[in-house]
Symmetry: C2
Subunit: 329 residues, 2 copies
C-alpha cells in the first residue's frame, strides 16, 4: 500500500512500539476521530426556519427517586424496553433558533458555560454548536425563555456573567417571573432543590441581567409567528409555543414531558423535577391528546436530538415517532 499522510504521521509511533504489544499497535493504524458531528439541524415551518442547537446530553445513574410514583425496577424496565442501558438516564437539551417574520429568536439557552466545564463538555455545548451553525449570537433579536430551570436559563449568561446575546431582548413568562421574583414564595421553600432553583433564577436574572427582561403573556404571540401557550405544572409559569407560518405548524413542548420513552410512554409518571406533579400530568395528557388529535408535529427540548417528531397513542401512553433527517433544508 502506498504511504499516505496518516501513515507518515503515525509511522514514528508505530516503529517505537515494543514487540510485546499486540501487532495492531505496530500497524500504521487509521487515527480515530475525536469529535462528533456538530449537533445542529435545520428545518422549515412554512417560511420560517428552525435550527435545533443541541446543548449536549447529561447521563446520570438511575436513582430511586427519579420517578416519584414509580418503582426503580419499573423505570429500569422502561429504559430497557427503549433499548437504553437500564441503570442510567440520558437526557438531551435542545434549544432552538427560529428565524421568523424578520426576527432571529432563540428559545431557551441550555446549561451554560459553567456546565460545559464541570461536565467535561457533555453539556453546555449551545454556544459552540450555535457557532458551528453559522449563527452569530450578536445577531439574535429575541431570547424567549420557557421556564426558569437552569438547563433553560443558564446559557443566557457568558462565563463573564453578561448577556450571551448582547443585542437581544429577553422575554420571560410573566407568571414565572412573578413567582420566582417573589420573596414570599422563595421563603416558603423547604427543599434544598427548590431553594437552589430560586437562587439560580435570581443569580441569572438579578445579579446577571439586572432584571432587564420583558414579561410575556400566554395566548399571545411572543415573537412573530410564535404563540405562547400555557402548560403549567412543571413550573408555575411553564410555557410551550406554537410556531406557525403559512400552513406550517410545530408545537414546541418545552418540558411537558422529559425523555419521551419514559414520560410520553408513561404520562402518569411524575419526574422529580415536575414542581406540581398532578398539574404537570394534566398538562401532559391534555397536550399529547391534542397533538394526536390534531396530528401536530412536536419539538421536544429533552427529546433525543434533533427532537422533532409526531405523536401517536400507544397503549395507555404515547409514542413519539422521530421525523426523518433531511440532508438538505
Amino acid at each position: 500500500m502506498d504511504l499516505t499522510r496518516r501513515h507518515v504521521l503515525t509511522g514514528a509511533a508505530g516503529l517505537a512500539a515494543t514487540p510485546l504489544l499486540p501487532a495492531i499497535s505496530a500497524d500504521a493504524a487509521a487515527p480515530m476521530a475525536d469529535k462528533q458531528a456538530p449537533s445542529f439541524y435545520r428545518y422549515k415551518v412554512g417560511d420560517a426556519q428552525v435550527t435545533v442547537i443541541s446543548d449536549g446530553v447529561n447521563t446520570f445513574p438511575l436513582g430511586d427517586s427519579f420517578v416519584l410514583n414509580a418503582k426503580k425496577d419499573d423505570v429500569a424496565a422502561a429504559l430497557e424496553k427503549a433499548y437504553m442501558p437500564k441503570d442510567k438516564v440520558s437526557i438531551q437539551f435542545g434549544p432552538l433558533v427560529v428565524n421568523s417574520g424578520g426576527k432571529l429568536v432563540v428559545i431557551d439557552t441550555g446549561n451554560g458555560p459553567g456546565a460545559f466545564a464541570s461536565s467535561k463538555g457533555n453539556v453546555g455545548q449551545f454556544a459552540t454548536n450555535l457557532a458551528a451553525a453559522g449563527i452569530d449570537a450578536k445577531s439574535v433579536d429575541l431570547v424567549v425563555i420557557s421556564h426558569f430551570h437552569g438547563d433553560h436559563i443558564n446559557g443566557l449568561l457568558t462565563a463573564d456573567n453578561v448577556l450571551a446575546f448582547p443585542n437581544a431582548e429577553v422575554l420571560v413568562p410573566s407568571v414565572e417571573w412573578k413567582y420566582f421574583m417573589d420573596d414570599g414564595e422563595m421563603g416558603k421553600q423547604t427543599s434544598e432543590r427548590m431553594k437552589g432553583v430560586f437562587a439560580n433564577a435570581r443569580r441569572v436574572f438579578d445579579a446577571g441581567l439586572k432584571k432587564k427582561v420583558t414579561p410575556y403573556e400566554w395566548g399571545k404571540d411572543v415573537a412573530p409567528g410564535i404563540l405562547a401557550v400555557e402548560t403549567a405544572g412543571h413550573t408555575p409559569g411553564h410555557t410551550s409555543y406554537v410556531i406557525s407560518s403559512g400552513s406550517g405548524k410545530v408545537f414546541v413542548q418545552s418540558d411537558v414531558t422529559n425523555i419521551p420513552y419514559l414520560f410520553a410512554a408513561n404520562p402518569g409518571w411524575h419526574a422529580f423535577f415536575d414542581q406540581d406533579p398532578a398539574m404537570a400530568e394534566a398538562a401532559r395528557r391534555k397536550t399529547y391528546d391534542m397533538l394526536v388529535a390534531d396530528k401536530l408535529m412536536v419539538q421536544g427540548f429533552h427529546y433525543p436530538f434533533p427532537g422533532l417528531g409526531n405523536v401517536e397513542k400507544d397503549g395507555s401512553g404515547y409514542r413519539v415517532i422521530p421525523a426523518p433527517w433531511n440532508p438538505v433544508i
Copy 2:
C-alpha cells in the same frame, strides 16, 4: 436595537424597498441559512469507530409499480401512517466509514458525482460529507461493496472516472462479481432496468476500475472485525455485515429492507428493485427475526439518517426504533 453586522449588510436593500412592499421587506430581517448541518454521525462499536456519511435523500412521486405486490393506495396509507407525504417516497443513502483493526474501511459509496449534478445536490453528497467529517479519501484502506446497484457503487469513481479512494483495495462479493461480469447472464436480461444495472456495473468496474477488485466470500471477515453475511435476493450477491469489537456488535443490513416504515413494517412487500422478490422477502424475514431475537442493533443503508436502530415485532411486521443521537462520541 443596536446595529449589527447583518443590519448593516441588509440596510441598503431595506432602504431601496418601495413603500408598496409589505413592511417586513423593509425590515432588517435575519438572513435565512442556506445549508443543512453536514450529515455525518459517529458512534463506537467496542473499540471500532463507525462514521455514517449521508449521500443525501432522493424523493420521487409514488408510482403504481413501486411496490409490485401492493396497491398504490395501501402504500400511500403506509406512508401516511409514518407521517410522511402520501404521494411521494423519500429514500436516504448512508455509506459507512469503519475504523477497525487499524484499517479505514468504506462500506458502499453512494450515487456518485454525476448524481450530485443531476439531482441538484440532493444526492451524491458522500464526498462532501466525508470531507466535512475530516476523512481524507486518500487515507481509506479498503472499500467494501455490498452489491452492484448504482447507489452503492457509483461513488467508487470520481467525476474523472478514476477510483475516488486512490490508495484503497476494492472488495466485492464474489457471487455478485461472477453474476454481473457474466456475459451470458447479461444477455438473458429483457427489462430495460436490468440491462441498465448490468451496463452500469460494467461502466464502473470495467471501464472505470479496469477490474482491479478483490472478490470476497460470505462467512469470512472481509476486513478486520467486519464479517460478510449472505442476504441474497435483492441482488444475487447481496451482502450484509456484522461489525464486531469486544462486546460491541452491529448488523449492517445493506438493502435487506429499503425504508423501514414501508418494508420492515410490511416485510411481504416487494419493492421493484428486489431482483428476486421471493428470495429477498425470505432474507428480510430471516434477518429481522434474528435482529429481534438477538437484540442486535442494525445500521440501514436506506434508513433515515443516521440509520442506527433496534428492531422489534409490530403486528405482522417490524418496527425500527432509531438509536438516540449522541452529541459526543
